[in-house]
């Protein structure tokens, strides 16, 4: 409970520190946020995913647009959605190449593309895709 409170305080502090008019961050608030969070593994483990998943997400091997979209939203920086969709081993590590795939922009574009795929109900171009830029 205490940890949860600390995390909430840290999240609030980060939100406040990173307001639109500021170009610097409160490093102490970031450190508090990181240090008061519960450590989990980035290696794909569907049973222990920290993000909530809908009950109808299928097992790995038959990826659903909703599952891929949610994984990208919650764990995109570590490329977990790519492993869910099927890709080469170690893609999670490649996503950490800089800070979440080139300033975190790769998972963000992935997310947009998966959103389009979700609307169109077609994510087949991204299933089994072994390229770093899955949309290219």
């Amino acid at each position: 409970m205490k940890k949860l409170l600390l995390v909430l305080v840290a999240v609030f502090a980060v939100s406040f520190a990173a307001n639109a008019n500021s170009y610097t961050l409160d490093d102490a608030a970031i450190d508090a946020l990181v240090e008061n969070s519960v450590e989990v593994s980035p290696v794909l483990d569907m049973a222990n995913l920290p993000a909530p998943l809908p009950a109808n997400v299928p097992a790995v091997g038959s990826p659903s647009p909703v599952g891929a979209f949610l994984l990208c939203m919650f764990l995109g920086e570590f490329g977990v959605h790519r492993h869910y969709l099927g890709t080469r081993p170690g893609m999670w590590a490649i996503y950490t190449f800089t800070v979440g795939g080139i300033f975190g922009i790769v998972p963000l574009v992935d997310w947009v593309m998966l959103l389009i795929g979700l609307v169109d109900d077609n994510i087949s171009p991204y299933v089994g895709n072994t390229k770093f830029f899955m949309w290219a």
């Binding site: 970031i30 989990v40 590590a93």
Partner: protein, 230 residues
């Protein structure tokens, strides 16, 4: 007096940064990196060592959560190797270039645009904002993220943001704790905040430590064993 000192400091840094691309000698920089991504009360940690050569060759040795090597170059000819299993995932070109590594960006003096022009953005304005230099880049190709802003303090980038079509920053990166080396400066602390939705955000803190310039280490020349070591 203080203003003069600041000006001299800024001028020195400018010369330092301008000299970077003129001195593309085979510089070698290594660093230990800890990446922590926090999201919804959970945090993921990745530790790695990065070995970056001036010619663009990059070796990344991941320590945790799984040991692996990535060897790549500016052309994106990357190979991934898992020592534990001997698995070599070379295969096709996966499009991962050493130019995407922050250490290489700074080593090659690309602080003026942090590599965004390579992604199709072009500089459209430069403005002075409370003593800070703000550059704005736009892209006609990338409709989802049409604008990038980079803010400099004393000629060093401190902030980078990708903006959506409405002008809202959906991805912010903050650079701080700069280390100074001969002809080379580097931010040892990089914090990235992504807003995939208006209500959610993830924070990625990257700490660089043990930065070594022009030292000998066999990992600079590391080659993945033939046939993946099998």
């Amino acid at each position: 007096m203080s203003a003069t000192r600041n000006s001299l400091c800024g001028l020195s840094l400018l010369l330092l940064l301008l000299a970077g691309p003129l001195c593309p000698a085979q510089r070698r920089v290594s660093a230990d990196v800890e990446v922590k991504q926090a999201l919804a009360g959970k945090v993921v940690t990745v530790t790695k060592s990065v070995y970056c050569s001036g010619n663009g060759r990059l070796v990344i040795h991941f320590h945790a959560p799984e040991e692996m090597f990535v060897v790549t170059n500016p052309l994106g000819e990357a190979r991934v190797y898992f020592p534990k299993t001997g698995q070599d995932d070379a295969g096709e070109n996966i499009g991962l270039s050493s130019r995407d590594e922050l250490l290489f960006l700074f080593l090659s003096g690309r602080v003026d645009d942090l590599g965004v022009t390579q992604d199709g953005y072009r500089l459209v304005s430069t403005a002075n904002e409370d003593g800070l230099l703000k550059k704005t880049f736009v892209s006609e190709k990338n409709g989802n993220l049409p604008r990038v802003e980079i803010v400099y303090q004393n000629y060093l980038p401190i902030y980078l943001a990708y903006l959506d079509p409405s002008g809202k920053a959906v991805n912010k990166t903050y650079f701080s704790n700069y280390s100074y080396f001969q002809r080379f400066v580097f931010p040892c602390r990089v914090t990235n905040i992504t807003y995939p939705t208006p209500r959610d955000s993830s924070v990625t803190r990257t700490l660089y430590s043990n930065l070594k310039v022009d030292v000998d280490d066999p990992l600079f020349d590391y080659d993945i064993p033939a046939a993946g070591g099998r």
